[in-house]
């Protein structure tokens, strides 16, 4: 797999194409900056294959976290893809579900803990490698100790995290070289948000880098940009950087400027779960006649304990009474199945009556809108107009899309 950069803007923002992605499923390419397709067990949340394929531009890489299903997966004869009835896609296995909060304090020198529907699962490198052999992903991240994103983490703890992560990576890589079933799987080394981690990880034969410890909510964007820039300087130019745990459009934009290539695509899911629809202007040439004022940032009344993030100014809350008799589509001009077939008043009704279809329709729209955003980002980079994206950085939400 090779990252071909076509442009580097201002010395840091990168426009490119990942080629030769995935050996098993065939030849794919992924435009960068881009995002992965977020899934639960290979299923895009709420969607069956029919509803999923109303979406035209799906990322070719699906992210899964599968530790809790290891036992069943070991009995699957034809591999995870067949098991999940997956369409053609590249599989990326990550440790944690980026949309789910999890408790910290369980990492040891030999294990990391991940969480599933049944509770905590301890993973040793050996267990993790066994999981890899079972799932046969195209990409995976190596085991990492990422619990350093709390702002009061001590230097000692940070150092330990970096050391542990490197040790896990080395063990992974060793097993990789000696286990034939792992051949063809590409390893992403995890960089624990610090220069030393980057320097060391860069020395290993990994195909790309996961940037950990920089998740949304852990620090403000200014610091994040600083850290990413510092880390990126240590990493080889032609290997992709995948930033974990960041999905908000303004943060994505800033991180693209700092040199990130790939993002986890969980943000549309989070927006869906709070009954909201993505609604923000990402035209690179905004029409001043169309722009309006933004709804002010409002915390969602019923905070889902799983949602660490409050509603952003990139969304409209369809539960709001003002949408009760609004017969416009979620976003005018949006080509997604939801906007082509249904109106805000209907989605509002589905949310008020707790109907399952709300999640289905919102997920379709939010995924489409988010993909459109990344396309606009890439177009802006191609036209050297990144500043025009998101209209302005004051989170002004404009009408139309």
């Amino acid at each position: 797999m090779q990252l071909e950069l076509s442009r580097v803007v201002h010395g840091t923002s990168r426009l490119g194409v990942l080629r030769g992605v995935g050996n098993k499923a065939g030849e794919y390419s992924l435009d960068t900056p881009g995002c992965l397709l977020y899934t639960h067990l290979g299923t895009v949340p709420h969607l069956t294959q029919d509803t999923l394929h109303t979406l035209k531009h799906l990322p070719c890489v699906s992210q899964v976290t599968l530790a809790e299903h290891q036992e069943v997966l070991e009995e699957v004869k034809d591999g995870f893809r067949k098991f999940a009835g997956l369409h053609d896609t590249i599989l990326y296995l990550s440790l944690h579900d980026p949309a789910a909060a999890y408790p910290t304090g369980y990492t040891t020198n030999k294990t990391v803990s991940v969480w599933g529907s049944g509770g905590r699962i301890e993973l040793t490198v050996a267990k993790f490698m066994a999981l890899l052999k079972t799932v046969q992903p195209d990409w995976y991240q190596s085991i990492a100790d990422g619990e350093t994103w709390e702002s009061n983490t001590s230097r000692k703890r940070v150092r330990k995290s970096v050391d542990r992560t490197l040790a896990h990576l080395d063990k992974c890589l060793l097993e990789h070289q000696t286990t034939p079933e792992l051949e063809g799987m590409e390893v992403f080394g995890v960089v624990e948000g610090r220069v030393r981690s980057a320097k060391e990880t860069a020395k290993r034969p990994v195909v790309g880098f996961c940037l950990d410890g920089l998740q949304t909510g852990s620090m403000d964007q200014g610091l994040r940009t600083e850290l990413i820039s510092a880390v990126n300087r240590e990493l080889p130019e032609h290997k992709p950087r995948l930033l974990q745990g960041v999905g908000r459009p303004d943060e994505v934009l800033a991180c693209v400027e700092a040199g990130v290539d790939l993002f986890e695509g969980f943000f549309p899911f989070q927006v869906t779960e709070r009954g909201c629809a993505l609604y923000f202007n990402y035209n690179i040439y905004p029409d001043p006649e169309v722009t309006g004022t933004a709804p002010t940032m409002q915390p969602n009344g019923e905070v889902n304990p799983e949602d660490q993030i409050e509603m952003t100014t990139f969304e409209i809350n369809l539960k709001d009474k003002r949408f009760q008799d609004d017969f416009a589509p979620l976003v005018e001009g949006c080509g997604c199945y939801c906007c082509q077939n249904h109106q805000r008043a209907y989605i509002h009704h589905l949310l008020v009556t707790n109907e399952l279809l709300a999640g289905v329709l919102l997920m379709i729209h939010n995924t489409a809108h988010y993909q459109g955003f990344f396309k606009a980002l890439r177009d802006a980079l191609a036209n050297d107009n990144l500043d025009g994206t998101l209209s302005n950085r004051d989170h002004t939400v404009t009408t139309g899309c």
Binding site: P45, T48, T51, E75, Q343, H349, L350
Partner: protein, 417 residues
């Protein structure tokens, strides 16, 4: 509105031909074409022509209570071959309310369903869901569960809401009494339902676009049922429902009331048996002469992980399916069975709502496919054979056959081995 009929046999008497001429001269939003009649049982296969599309009967109508079919899109529902589904007047009348739905171009426009819709009157929810204040001649008084306000649902109000919803078939408001109730209340309710039928007919603003069905009541009392049948069939409605059953009564009483009803309902109008959806009940009641059925069971049970199959049902969430890599039904052609295994669905139930949608799709497919097979067997003249095969598949041995079903089928000349 009278239903017109175009069937094989000639209309002989001048009286009947006068009736047909009269019927044909008025625009009718419902036409029933009898395509085949089973020579052994009372079953019929028909084409029911409704404003939004034709419907092949016998038909099972899935229930999309609040203007949505529980997690599946209208496109998915259409792909499964659904030609008609239900919406609930009570629920939709509360939220979002008839005015809003009217603004949205009716329930069809609101949910973007291009085929037919049937709405019930709200009467059943009165009995089953709501703290009943009072039933009077005027209507049903109840307390709204959403804001505690007192609401009076009259025949006129029910029809008014259904006119706003714009359904192809509307149900009269009936005085609903649980099938386990006996005594004078049953008779009172039956007579009142007849009077309410007349009020509903008078209140229908759209007789040229919306079909109002009567609902035969009378509980489990043959005499009361017969009286109701005599009275209601005097009214010029396009179709009849058999109501007041499927509510916990003994199956032995249930089937007797069904067959009594179909004996006295006009041949050339559709017969809708309300609230029936179990596979066995469907097959038996088709044999007894019913054309249309609805039930929440298949879609509701799906959300609990229960998948319907020709040999019963399969609880996908149970441990035994964790490593079962077969589809729910290897012979099923639905999108779920073509792509997913029991094991995958079992695992998915732990992680995502999509698991419910997969089972919902399968269960609707199962019901619709069953009815299609029933219909084809009637058209081919082999319905009795179909019944025997069906029973053998569903039950492990003849002594497992429920006696009520054996009796009911025997009453229409079907003997099971």
């Amino acid at each position: 509105m009278a239903a017109t009929t175009a069937c094989e046999s000639q209309i002989n008497t001048s009286e009947e031909s006068m009736h047909v001429k009269k019927a044909l001269s008025v625009a009718s939003p419902l036409t029933l074409k009898i395509v085949a009649e089973c020579p052994v049982t009372k079953a019929r296969a028909c084409e029911l022509i409704l404003p939004h599309s034709p419907v092949s009967t016998p038909v099972f109508m899935p229930v999309g209570t609040q203007g949505t079919m529980k997690g599946i899109t209208v496109d998915q529902l259409d792909s499964l071959g659904c030609q008609i589904c239900l919406g609930n007047t009570y629920h939709l009348g509360m939220r979002p309310g008839p005015e809003l739905i009217e603004k949205a171009n009716g329930l069809h426009g609101f949910m973007n369903w291009k085929r037919n819709l049937l709405t019930d009157s709200g009467g059943f929810q009165m009995v089953s869901l709501v703290e009943l204040s009072e039933v009077t001649e005027e209507g049903v008084k109840f307390k709204s569960p959403y804001d505690g306000k007192e609401i009076l649902l009259t025949p006129e109000k029910s029809i008014g809401i259904q006119n706003s919803l714009g359904s192809d078939i509307m149900m009269q408001l009936d005085d609903v009494v649980s099938s386990t109730v006996t005594g004078p209340r049953v008779e009172e309710a039956m007579h009142r339902s007849v009077r309410w039928l007349d009020r509903c007919i008078a209140a229908n603003k759209n007789p040229h676009k919306q079909n109002l069905f009567a609902i035969i009541q009378g509980g489990l009392n043959a005499q009361l049922r017969k009286t109701c049948l005599d009275e209601m069939t005097k009214r010029d409605v396009p179709g009849f429902a058999i109501g007041g059953l499927s509510g916990g009564e003994e199956k032995d009483d249930f089937w007797r009331m069904v067959t009594l009803s179909t004996d006295h309902l006009p041949r050339e109008k559709p017969r809708y048996l309300m609230g029936v959806g179990y596979a066995l009940d469907l097959v038996v009641c088709v044999a007894l002469g019913c054309d249309m059925f609805d039930c929440v069971f298949p879609t509701r049970t799906a959300r609990f992980g229960s998948a319907l199959v020709p040999w019963g049902s399969l609880q996908v969430k149970q441990k035994q399916y964790a490593k079962d890599f077969k589809p729910i039904d290897p012979d099923c052609e639905c999108p779920t069975c073509k792509r997913h295994s029991r094991a995958y669905l079992h695992a998915l139930f732990k992680n995502d709502t999509a698991a419910m949608h997969h089972i919902t799709i399968h269960n609707i497919s199962y019901q619709l496919t069953l009815m299609r097979s029933v219909r084809q067997s009637i058209v081919d003249g082999r319905f009795p054979e179909f019944i025997r095969t069906f029973m053998k598949r569903m039950f492990s041995s003849p002594d497992q056959y429920p006696s009520w079903a054996v009796d009911a089928l025997a009453s229409v000349n079907i003997t099971l081995d």
